[in-house]
């Protein structure tokens, strides 16, 4: 009898120590735009090391996150691919007012897996040396909308319209390129560049004058308001350590 009792007390002690530990290390759920997901993995690792909190990253399209948040998705933070969605969420009362800030400015790249296909002025777009041009869906993804602006300003939209294939996100546009199904495509510099040079293949970093800036904003959501890990991560994203990681992955801020 005593033995059983002692065993129970042991279990209770163990459970209590685990329970108190979880007060110290909270968990934060972050909805992250597809283009930023690999950068966020690196940031989360640094954040977990420094704070002891746990991060859970959910990757997807910003428009889908908007719909999910409005329908009660348990996200604490949204790292959007644009600045409109966080603003809209704040105006509609789903986000904490005053918590918005720009965590990264993205850069658009014309990229091909084939070395030498893309030249430094993007003249390849005027040629017929490609059959498919991959972009992110301009209705859903800011990188897709920016790509359309570039084509429009270069006066090429009518010429390449029949060769456009759209991925749901810039991540899928990259997948079409990586699998060789499209020769040429507009993706995020974070996906293909390391220190301004293409990791493989050939690329053209699009001048900022050809499209409106790709400002990516973060916002603290109402469900994360009382979560210490969420507020800690919002601060960490603006720390020098996180900013260095963001720059290293092809963004500015």
């Amino acid at each position: 009898m005593h033995f059983v009792l002692r065993k129970w007390i042991c279990w209770l002690g163990l459970w209590l120590s685990l329970a108190t530990q979880s007060v110290w290390s909270a968990q934060v759920q972050v909805a992250v735009a597809a283009n930023f997901s690999s950068t966020m993995q690196a940031i989360a690792q640094a954040f977990e090391q420094e704070s002891g909190h746990q991060t859970r990253i959910i990757t997807g399209a910003t428009g889908k996150f908007y719909a999910q948040i409005k329908n009660g998705a348990p996200f604490d933070i949204l790292l959007a691919a644009d600045s409109q969605t966080p603003l809209l969420l704040e105006q509609e009362g789903w986000a904490v007012p005053g918590s918005r800030f720009t965590y990264a400015i993205g850069h658009l790249v014309l990229w091909s897996k084939q070395p030498g296909l893309v030249d430094a002025q993007g003249e390849v777009l005027r040629s017929t040396s490609f059959k498919r041009l991959a972009i992110a869906d301009p209705r859903l993804a800011p990188y897709g909308a920016a790509a359309m602006q570039v084509l429009e300003r270069m006066g090429l939209l009518a010429q390449v319209k029949d060769r456009l294939v759209q991925g749901e996100t810039v991540g899928q546009a990259y997948q079409f390129l990586a699998s060789g199904n499209a020769e040429l495509g507009f993706v995020a510099s974070s996906q293909v560049l390391a220190d301004a040079n293409p990791v493989t293949g050939s690329s053209w970093l699009i001048p900022e004058s050809l499209h409106s800036p790709l400002r990516q904003d973060a916002v603290l959501l109402k469900s994360g308001q009382a979560n210490p890990a969420a507020t800690a991560l919002m601060l960490f994203l603006q720390s020098p350590r996180a900013r260095a990681l963001i720059r290293a992955n092809g963004y500015s801020h």
Partner: protein
């Protein structure tokens, strides 16, 4: 209400489902016939292969189709050699994908129909000196027609409902690969909830009507048959 783009997607989806169903029936009939009668050692692995799309997520199918049908993939090289170009991002590519995706929905009802028929009718036909082909077309086909009906209806409806595979290898091209399900998805993501509702509700009603019709037909057939 329903925009021109929506109508394009609706028409494309119906065309895709109709063509895929036709191809599926042509392909699934001999396959199901063989599965119902064969005693070969290959029977079990091929039956398992045929059922794979039932359990695999459509994203797996879409991903592998994108990779294998792409210019660097084994099947992509073949289609390029034949001068057909590559299939992802094309209507034909979606037909190929749909046939793979809906194959079990065509094979299973036919297999059941052929198995339930048993050997007796064909043996009788043989004693009456009908050739195997003649026996198939004048005995087996009429007996198995409810199976064909189920196979056709299920293939059609299942193809209309496919999404993940199209998303992976379609490329969202209006009039080519932007089907109803991806159009609804686009509406939801761009917060055009009204348009999404109209199409989604239409699809719900359509699917219910199809399944209800199939159930009523099967019931009537059961009563008539026994």
């Amino acid at each position: 209400m329903i925009s021109a783009e929506d109508w394009t997607a609706i028409a494309l989806t119906l065309r895709l489902a109709a063509i895929s169903t036709l191809v599926l029936l042509l392909l699934a009939s001999p396959l199901a016939w063989w599965l119902a009668r064969s005693r070969s050692a290959w029977r079990a692995p091929i039956a398992a292969l045929t059922s794979l799309p039932l359990v695999l997520p459509p994203t797996v199918l879409g991903f592998y189709l994108l990779v294998t049908l792409g210019p660097d993939g084994p099947l992509g090289r073949v289609t390029l050699l034949l001068g057909l170009g590559t299939l992802p991002f094309s209507f034909v590519g979606l037909v190929v994908g749909s046939v793979v995706y809906s194959l079990p929905f065509a094979v299973q009802p036919l297999l059941h129909a052929f198995q339930n028929m048993g050997k007796r009718p064909l043996e009788l036909a043989a004693t009456l000196r009908a050739s195997p082909w003649d026996a198939f077309f004048s005995v087996a086909l009429p007996l198995a027609w409810p199976g064909f009906l189920s196979a056709a209806v299920l293939s059609f409806a299942h193809t209309i409902g496919e999404f993940g595979m199209v998303l992976m290898m379609g490329g969202n091209i209006p009039g080519q690969t932007r089907v109803l399900s991806t159009q609804i998805y686009g509406h939801v993501e761009t917060m055009a909830y009204n348009q999404a509702h109209i199409l989604a509700a239409g699809m719900l009603v359509f699917s219910f009507a199809v399944l209800l019709g199939l159930n009523l037909l099967q019931k009537r057939d059961l009563r008539m048959g026994t």
